[in-house]
Subunit: 475 residues, 2 copies
């Protein structure tokens, strides 16, 4: 049978079964956008011919990573808001209010490039102005599952005194919801199905019950999922108690929100019992180890969620305070932070991190029928990783394989050589084929200069801990 | 005045002063092995001429990283012993007893290459057979501060039942001490002073009081430092209590061991008070965030040590359970693990991680007169880092600089382009000039195949948690 491409003589990590599904001398045959077959090199070469055969001896083939939560629209502020208190108000806000959409888009493209170069093939991007950001994904050829941020907060919410109840603007909320609906109608299923659209309410504290229920009804009508922050910080919990006399999760449960349509992001402030409730109700949990560790100094109850049978995934969140969108970083942090939380080195083994960045992530975001593992009939989203890098050498196979622990604890992301999405090579030998990386970086740099100039006074006025470090000569 | 090399138009991070000592349009002039001058590009170009001028616009120049604790001799087992209990006995030992010195050396070279490619210029290597390992450092051109592992444990100590007191072999201890003395006499000050030698007692639990005191007297006689594990695990504390009725740190204090000659590694099991005592006595603390997080699930009391005024440094430890020797990894883990330990995002800011990997590390290991910062008269050990990588883009400078947080939280190590040690370029545009990287990896791979074959039965017999994962199909 004729394939377009065969990758042979590789370590193939299918992510099928309960572990990583390793085939030691494996091969993958691809036709069009689809995985035609996966097996031993012998099986695949006996069953298929292809114009192009990639010899992958000493390389690893695995599914592309799925970043289940990212805000690429704020990546232009990479590294501006960490090691500080009041991340949102003092870190992000002074920049955000002084940024044009074009500037935000310039940052978004750089972080998408960063992700692809570290093996991310699917991005669950959740931000304002998604109708423009989504065009990046169309162009670079990555898979994206996008949502518009929907809330009822006025545009000058940054001025709201810390601790006071947010004012809601029903009209603005409706407008943003319409943007999300329009995004769905224009983009859902586009680019050969690479682009799909979710609903993106920003959090239970940031909109009225009416709007939340409207979103829920729409998600059902359009048969899609809801990507939402839940219990993301003490700020949120305080708002909920003040407004409704209830914490986020009991409130959402009463509304019937905790079901398999919901991707609940963070759960930072969820109690163990609340995390267990979310798991039992069938909503998925997106765990952002790096960003929550860095901007909050906390480890969300992901282990309790998993132990209650919940479906979890990893996400890289945002570059102002993570400060990267690299799933290797997330896998590493997820494992070590949970070991330390429980004072037990056996907690969160490497294979679990890998699953939560691939097949479990696919389940959590509702795309397991298409991606997350290398399986006949699934989309050809896959990576070639160089195991001859010093960070991954030497390779042991018997009686213990060390590929998985080294991928999680040692690899940096730069070992990813080649990236296929939807059967197309979008990066080869670390060179992006669909976008000019240097030009993207140049544009982001230009944007940063403008933002810097425009936001100077607001940054000085906010006087964050980071600004103080700068004043004191530490940076 | 004539220089050999000028690097101009760079962001120069000198690490002088209390922060990172940034010069935004900076330059460095190098002559022979020495930094001739550091200043603004204008100053340097006005004062010096050189045959070679590296134009470093958009790049960062900074001191090379100092890895204050590494066991390169066990790197050949990279990724074989994590996510498990009984790391030493079940993880390491079955391999170690089946490995030849040549095989260990093959692994050592790969990890030194890994380190250099991630910007490490000085390695405090502490292992058996250092008289051979040290030749790698001589050849590749890195700076090394080495010690032979000295203890009184019999060669078959792995057989000792867990929990029972270690038997001591005075003769073996004396032999190993002689190896350390010979190492000192042959290598201290060699290679233009790039190689220096310390004493390396393995821990207070692994040798008699007599041998410990002999080491101390020798360190004074040779006027060098002592590189030693202290309170590295509950195993050690149990041995100390059983043997002496005292915990490690009070015991060492009574021996007069806690002074500025001592580099105390780990302090994992030190109480807050013990960490404070070590700090007050003037011994330095080497903190290995990654390895202790991964193999023990713990965060040592480094913050308490620092708050007591102690001199600390970061180290990458060992590749079987870290699983890398990359100082970017250590900086990142050090910051995030301590934030989480104290539930405060302001704890362990990025600039502190950077200092503990450069200038503070130089002080902690006793080489601050030569390395750790870019300063007139110090050795020219420095890095050129590409800030145009997506992980470090865009660069902001005013009113807040984001270079430091992005280096610590986002960079992977692969952004390091060029490495100078002792004024010589040993890596340029990511190509090592002094050693054949591919051949080193090939040899390590060959060694791994042999070790794997030879240790198979012992690994099966040890039946570690990792072996069980393999049996269960998770790896």
């Amino acid at each position: 049978m004729k394939a377009d491409l065969i990758i042979a003589h590789a370590y193939v990590m299918t992510m099928e079964g309960k572990g990583v599904g390793m085939i030691e001398n494996g091969a993958v045959a691809v036709k069009g956008d689809t995985i035609l077959d996966v097996g031993t090199t012998e099986e695949i070469l006996a069953g298929y011919q292809a114009d192009r055969v990639i010899e992958a001896k000493g390389k690893l083939v695995m599914p592309g990573f799925i970043d289940a939560h990212i805000h690429s629209g704020i990546s232009i502020y990479r590294g501006m808001a960490q090691d500080m208190s009041h991340w949102m108000q003092k870190g992000l806000w002074p920049f955000k209010k002084n940024t044009t959409q074009e500037e935000s888009l310039a940052g978004s493209l750089v972080t998408i490039i960063e992700g692809i170069k570290a093996g991310t093939t699917t991005f669950c991007d959740y931000d304002y102005g998604m109708n423009r950001i989504v065009q990046h994904y169309a162009k670079v050829g990555a898979r994206a599952r996008v949502a518009e941020t929907v809330n009822e907060l006025p545009n000058d919410i940054g001025k709201n005194p810390v601790g006071e109840l947010y004012p809601f603007d029903r009209g603005l909320g409706e407008q943003r919801l319409q943007d999300n609906i329009r995004l769905f109608e224009e983009w859902h299923g586009q680019e050969n199905g690479r682009i799909t659209v979710l609903f993106g309410p920003q959090g239970p504290d940031m909109m009225s019950t009416e709007l939340l229920l409207e979103v829920k009804a729409l998600a059902e009508k359009y048969d899609t999922r809801i990507h939402m922050h839940v219990a993301q910080g003490d700020r949120e919990i305080n708002q909920m108690i003040k407004r409704y006399g209830k914490r986020s999760i009991p409130y959402l449960d009463e509304l019937g929100y905790l079901d398999s349509r919901l991707m609940a992001v963070h759960l930072t402030e969820a109690t163990v019992e609340e995390a267990q409730l979310v798991a039992r109700r069938g909503a998925s949990m997106i765990y952002c180890a790096g960003s929550i560790g860095i901007i909050d100094g906390l480890v969300p109850p992901v282990m309790d969620f998993l132990e209650a049978g919940g479906q979890a995934a990893l996400g890289s969140d945002q570059a102002p305070g993570n400060n990267c969108n690299n799933m290797f970083n997330e896998m590493k942090f997820a494992a070590i932070l949970n070991k330390v939380k429980r004072s037990d080195p056996r907690v969160f083994p490497a294979w679990l991190s890998l699953r939560l960045a691939t097949i479990e992530s696919a389940k959590a975001i509702g795309l397991a029928h298409e991606i997350g593992s290398l399986k006949k009939g699934k989309k050809a989203d896959l990576l070639l990783i160089n195991l001859q890098d010093p960070s991954l050498s030497p390779v042991y196979t018997d009686p213990i394989r060390n590929i998985v622990p080294n991928l999680v604890y040692s690899a940096k992301g730069s070992e990813v050589e080649t990236v296929l999405v939807d059967g197309k090579i979008i990066m080869e030998d670390r060179k992006l084929l669909t976008v000019d990386e240097k030009e993207a970086i140049r544009q982001a740099q230009e944007a940063a200069v403008q933002i810097s100039r425009r936001s100077r006074d607001d940054i000085v006025a906010a006087h964050s801990d980071v600004y103080q470090m700068m004043e004191d000569g530490y940076l």
